[in-house]
């Protein structure tokens, strides 16, 4: 259903929608996946491949003493053992923003699982035995493991101050503090003030494919990497910088990740592997265990304190937010996570005044990194929960208070920034209808609803080359990482549509920096818009060239020729695109090559370095029942509604939205990384860390797509895939409160936690759950 006309897509002719766009075209690479033929990183065989195993300590922070590698070196089949002593001094460091991560720990380990040494052997068993034989003298040191301990006056510093030149915060564990806001919070008067602290746990990505990479030292001094990395060109650049090579000497081959979710965006062990490949003269492969993968990546945890003012009829007056995100030992992209998530802390509402102080706090834990939602689930948990408390105190329901405050399309979200780009009320009402908000609630159940908003990419650059071959088949070169979202499929659909080619004749090439032109990265739900538009422009380039061919062939003025998708329109007739090309090229054959670039430039004065290309807006609603004896939450209905613009492939969009919705159940209900006093992760691996299974899905899970074709992407598309987990937690908690009366401000809502709150409520029925009336 379209309630708005399609916006101009960079001056292109209106696309022909009779093609595969908008249809559930079969997934490119799907058949290979159901037959087991798909080659993931660990399936790749190279001649002479050696296996690498990391040596780590059983604590978070330790002073590293002598490392005895003699026994390991002496084992048959061990080819090399490396420690920091074998690397340059000062230790080379890398990272996507801050070059802080050492190739191997030097002096001190900073998190549980940080590699202190590495062994290389002819097979995995030998490598594992040899790793166990490496003896590392060490002294366990007190570790900073929480926001409170990180900010204490006598807290040990996670990062050496000399690594943070000219940083006024270098003597603290605060990596950065961001301040956002507008209006004058202190001058506001509110009828009701609600003030609470919320916590969000450490959780880990748990892609089913553990992390891994292969490095090969090329004969010409260059390096080749096989890595299921979401950002192949960033890996290329960082390795070129680190090893002082030109980009032509660094070749990244990126097999499709078996799940990324942000955890596979940035390099981690590739530098170590490159060094080992050069030392041994053979390809070196590291594949982490699942436990090692948990130690490598996670989402930032958060402690968020919010003071919110409301008018008597539920309008927001102000938000005063102190947001502390607990990062790990190295920055990775985590500071950006804090900035981006908290910039939109106030959500999709009219808020007259806001003060947001967001801090990225370092700790001796796994480096937190990008993770689907990129900082929004944490802050949203707090701010949406505040809305629900305001609603309860004012006698409103969760839907009413949100509709009362929701911005309309074109209204400011953050004053002076990109306004709301969708009819979000439509999405909210669709979610409410789908969950049956206005129908009688069966006894013993509760309902909750929440909204979430995330900024799409704020800058970006994608190139695509499309080759229209002599037989009408099409090659699309697009550097997006296809990690399950189905990027290749929609690119094929678009190219087929734009050139009037059968979908079966379109092939997408990706995952090779030597063949495929530059793409900035795969993140922020950007690729439908950025790479999609680049592909559209490449196809337009082809049509323009073929239009000129037609003018030449038929002796017409170019102004007399127009080219639609698949067809050339001459004054007196129409000729298929393919026929014009074949006639023009003639006996020698050949092809037509089109190039397209889509760029969103930096805005240096913008707090995020650029404004949002689009917003991902989601509304999630639940109907639940709570077992008071066990604290278990039964999900009767789970609805997710997203403002998607246009679903290029509806089946894939629904799959992603359902998937994100279920992933959101993870941090909402069951997932948390547990540390002991030495910062050792206690629940490594699948036995002790629980993610949703088939049995955790709601009895009725329903994904709704609102398509108003009002996005900046092809056919009016916006980015999708993150929306459905932005507000899972507050919607669920609101439903639990509705069902039981208890208010919970800490995640996850495990049965134990819910049960404990129920017991407390029973024993102290008059206890004020928090907040005050002004």
């Amino acid at each position: 259903m379209s309630t708005a006309t399609a916006p101009p897509t960079s001056g292109l002719p209106a696309p022909n929608l009779a093609g595969t766009v908008g249809a559930p075209a079969p997934r490119v690479g799907g058949a290979e996946r159901v037959t087991g033929e798909q080659q993931f990183l660990a399936d790749i065989h190279l001649e002479g491949l050696l296996t690498v195993k990391l040596v780590t300590l059983d604590c978070a922070r330790a002073r590293i003493g002598a490392i005895d590698t003699a026994a390991a070196r002496a084992m048959p089949g061990v080819v090399d053992v490396i420690t920091a002593a074998d690397l340059p001094d000062p230790m080379p460091r890398f990272g996507p923003v801050f070059a802080d991560r050492p190739i191997l720990a030097v002096g001190e380990t900073k998190y549980h699982g940080e590699p202190v040494a590495a062994v290389v052997a002819v097979d995995r068993d030998t490598a594992e035995q040899a790793a166990r034989a490496v003896l590392v003298e060490h002294e366990v040191l007190p570790a900073v493991l929480s926001v409170a301990t990180a900010l204490a006056d006598d807290a040990p510093l996670v990062q050496e101050p000399q690594l943070r030149h000219k940083d006024p915060l270098a003597g603290t564990n605060v990596l950065k503090e961001r301040r956002y806001g507008w209006g004058d919070v202190d001058a506001q008067t509110a009828d009701l003030i609600v003030e609470n602290t919320y916590t969000f746990p450490m959780v880990t990505h748990f892609a089913i494919e553990p992390h891994g990479a292969i490095a090969v030292a090329d004969d010409d001094g260059g390096l080749t990497f096989y890595s299921p990395v979401q950002h192949p060109y960033l890996l290329q650049k960082l390795m070129a910088d680190l090893f002082e090579l030109s980009l032509t000497k660094v070749h990244v081959l990126a097999p499709d990740p078996g799940g990324g979710f942000g955890g596979k965006q940035n390099p981690k062990f590739e530098p170590l592997l490159a060094i080992l490949a050069r030392r041994t003269g053979r390809p070196c492969r590291l594949v982490l265990t699942l436990e090692e993968t948990f130690q490598a990546v996670r989402r930032a945890a958060a402690d968020i304190h919010v003071r919110t003012g409301f008018t008597g009829n539920g309008r927001l007056v102000f938000h005063d937010i102190r947001s502390n995100y607990l990062l790990g030992a190295y920055a990775d992209i985590a500071e950006r996570v804090v900035a981006k998530g908290n910039y939109l802390a106030c959500g999709p509402y009219r808020v007259p005044a806001a003060r947001i102080r967001a801090r990225a706090v370092l700790s001796h834990t796994t480096p937190s990194c990008a993770f689907r939602g990129f900082g929004t689930p944490q802050i949203n948990w707090a701010v949406e929960s505040q809305l629900d408390e305001g609603a309860r105190r004012l006698g409103l329901d969760g839907l009413t208070i949100r509709l009362r405050n929701l911005v309309a399309k074109g209204e400011d979200v953050v004053p002076g920034d990109v306004p709301a780009d969708g009819h979000w009320e439509q999405t909210v009402r669709a979610a409410a209808d789908a969950v049956g908000w206005h129908t009688p609630l069966p006894p013993g159940r509760g309902r909750g609803i929440a909204c979430g908003i995330k900024s799409g990419a704020t800058t970006g650059l994608s190139y695509s080359t499309v080759r229209y071959l002599y037989d009408g088949s099409v090659l699309v070169y697009a550097g997006t990482s296809d990690m399950g979202q189905g990027a290749r499929t929609i690119f094929a659909q678009m190219a087929a549509d734009q050139l009037g080619a059968p979908l079966a004749k379109v092939r997408v090439v990706s995952g090779d920096t030597s063949l495929v032109p530059f793409d900035l990265q795969t993140s922020a739900s950007r690729s439908t818009v950025f790479m999609g538009n680049a592909i559209l422009r490449a196809c337009q380039d082809i049509r323009t060239q073929i239009g000129q061919m037609a003018a030449d062939l038929y002796r017409l003025d170019p102004t007399q020729v127009t080219v639609a998708t698949g067809t050339v329109h001459l004054p007196d007739r129409e000729v298929p695109l393919l026929e014009v090309m074949q006639r023009f090229l003639g006996r020698l054959r050949g092809e037509v090559i089109g190039n397209g670039v889509y760029r969103k430039r930096d805005m240096p004065d913008h707090p995020l370095g650029g404004d949002p290309a689009f917003y991902e807006f989601n509304c999630t609603a639940f109907e639940v029942e709570v077992d008071r004896e066990t604290g278990e939450i039964l999900l009767h209905k789970h609805v997710t509604a997203g403002d998607v613009g246009k679903a290029i492939n509806p089946l894939q969009v629904e799959s992603q939205d359902e998937g994100a919705a279920i992933m959101g159940l993870g941090h909402s209900m069951m997932e948390h990384i547990l540390l002991d006093d030495n910062g050792r992760i206690r629940n490594l691996g699948a036995l002790d860390y629980r993610i949703p299974t088939t049995k955790d899905v709601a009895l009725d899970l329903h994904a709704v797509m609102i398509e108003n074709e009002d996005g900046p992407g092809p056919y009016g598309a916006k980015g999708v895939s993150e929306g459905a987990l932005l507000c899972t937690a507050p919607a669920l908690a609101a439903a639990v409160t509705d069902a039981t009366g208890v208010v919970i401000r800490d995640l996850p809502l495990t049965p134990e936690r819910v049960w404990t709150h129920l017991q407390l409520a029973n024993s102290e029925p008059d206890r004020d759950p928090g907040g005050s009336d002004a």
Binding site: V34, E37, G259, S655, E658, A686, K695, L701, M705
Partner: protein
């Protein structure tokens, strides 16, 4: 078959994998998953948790679905094994369940899919008309982080439904639309 082979000793394992007789000589402590992947070149089955919790390594051994990461290769001596590579109705084609996975949108990143498809096929082979609850229970040992569960369940139910209405293995069998979970609202 003996389970008391000393660690470090090599054992000969004779198995029939996907209909082919294979024989390998491996260290006695090697898991079946490793031998399938590294020695027999069948990389379809995946390694993830290595503790029998995620199901990515699921294969069929003598008619039972097993986590091949938890089984020693030596324990499979003399057994018939089916891996994901052996599911296709004919070499290179998709069986009805595999086709349904694609049509129902059950495949995303694909890493869990080999184990998932093997588990699901085994479920249908032993329970041709499962209820939704039985499918969820039967696949609860296969983790999918892309969380395509709704569509995976729909694919299994669609295959069961089609199989009941039409007893052939034809992959053109129509998938009943009401079996596909989720609807598109605009």
């Amino acid at each position: 078959m003996t389970t008391s082979t000393a660690t470090g000793t090599t054992t000969t394992v004779r198995v029939t994998v996907n209909g082919d007789a294979r024989e390998v000589s491996v260290a006695a402590y090697r898991p079946l998953l490793d031998v399938l992947r590294d020695d027999l070149g069948l990389t379809g089955s995946k390694e993830c948790c290595a503790v029998g919790e995620c199901g990515a390594c699921t294969v069929i051994v003598d008619g039972r679905s097993v986590n091949s990461c938890l089984m020693l290769a030596g324990e499979a001596d003399g057994c018939q094994i089916t891996t994901v590579e052996g599911l296709g109705a004919h070499h290179g084609r998709l069986n009805p369940l595999q086709a349904a996975f694609l049509e129902c949108g059950a495949v995303q990143c694909g890493f869990c899919i080999p184990g998932m498809v093997v588990s699901a096929q085994h479920l249908l082979d032993t329970n041709p008309r499962p209820t939704v609850e039985e499918v969820r229970e039967g696949l609860s040992g296969n983790l999918c982080r892309c969380a395509g569960y709704n569509r995976i369940v729909a694919a299994v139910l669609a295959t069961a439904d089609a199989g009941h209405r039409d007893d052939t293995d034809d992959i053109d069998t129509e998938i009943a639309p009401e079996a596909v979970a989720g609807t598109v609202d605009q």
